[in-house]
């Protein structure tokens, strides 16, 4: 499949509870950005719990929605943190 890449998407805490989903995979066209992942995720049932512009990490580093993805990247949706 030329031009397709596989992205792992992870959800935590309240987001995972609302979606009933902690981890999934998306196939996106190459050159896709974090914003494309957001658009796909917004279609999922329970996605209303996730804000329009959520905090997102790519490969364990906070990233913005314009970040261009590579195949194999892990995109995580980060609810408001409450450690400490």
């Amino acid at each position: 499949m030329v031009g397709e890449m596989l992205i792992t998407v992870r959800f935590f805490a309240s987001y995972a509870d609302s979606l009933g989903l902690a981890r999934t995979q998306l196939a996106l066209d190459s050159g896709a950005r974090v914003s494309d992942v957001l658009a796909s995720v917004a279609q999922l049932p329970g996605a209303t719990a996730i804000p329009k512009i959520p905090r997102v990490a790519v490969n364990h580093v906070f990233a913005d929605i314009d970040t261009i993805l590579q195949t194999g990247d892990e995109v995580a949706f980060i609810p408001p943190v409450a450690g400490g």
Partner: protein, 142 residues
């Protein structure tokens, strides 16, 4: 400089020994423990969950930042996850430095940044059995 997400009880004494150094006369420590009440509700226990790989990475980055800002600081931080009872420590940070102001400032930097940046969440379980995820960004009435 060691940052870890742990599942066993935190041993504060061993963290203090870990940063101890004959050249550093000042050690500052922060311990966060589970409170019995929050926003007027009686808390029975708290479940902490983490995006573990990222949490440890982010904690390490924060310690490195503090080490640069307060040169010579020796730092260690542990955050516990899983089910914690009231009074148990969820977080402990130790900072040693030759100057007490630097040890205290480095400590405050690390705890403040950890609270805002480390992907860890907590679900409070109340005395009545109900539970909810804590969202510190939500303004509450109390």
């Amino acid at each position: 400089m060691r940052a870890a997400v742990v599942t066993n009880p935190i041993d504060v004494g061993s963290l203090i020994l870990e940063v101890a150094d004959d050249l550093h006369g000042a050690t500052a420590i922060f311990i966060g423990t589970v409170r019995s009440t929050n926003e007027g509700r009686e808390v029975r226990e708290i479940e902490y969950t983490a995006y573990e790989e990222m949490a440890e990475r982010e904690m390490s980055v924060i310690l490195a930042e503090a080490g640069r800002a307060y040169e010579g600081a020796v730092l260690v931080a542990e955050h516990r996850i899983g089910l914690l009872a009231v009074g148990e420590a969820s977080i402990a940070i130790a900072a040693a430095h030759g100057r007490r102001a630097c040890a205290l400032d480095a400590l405050r930097y690390v705890i403040d940044e950890m609270k805002s940046r480390v992907p860890i969440w907590k679900r409070e379980v109340y005395a009545d059995g109900s539970q909810s995820w804590v969202d510190p960004t939500r303004v509450t009435a109390t």
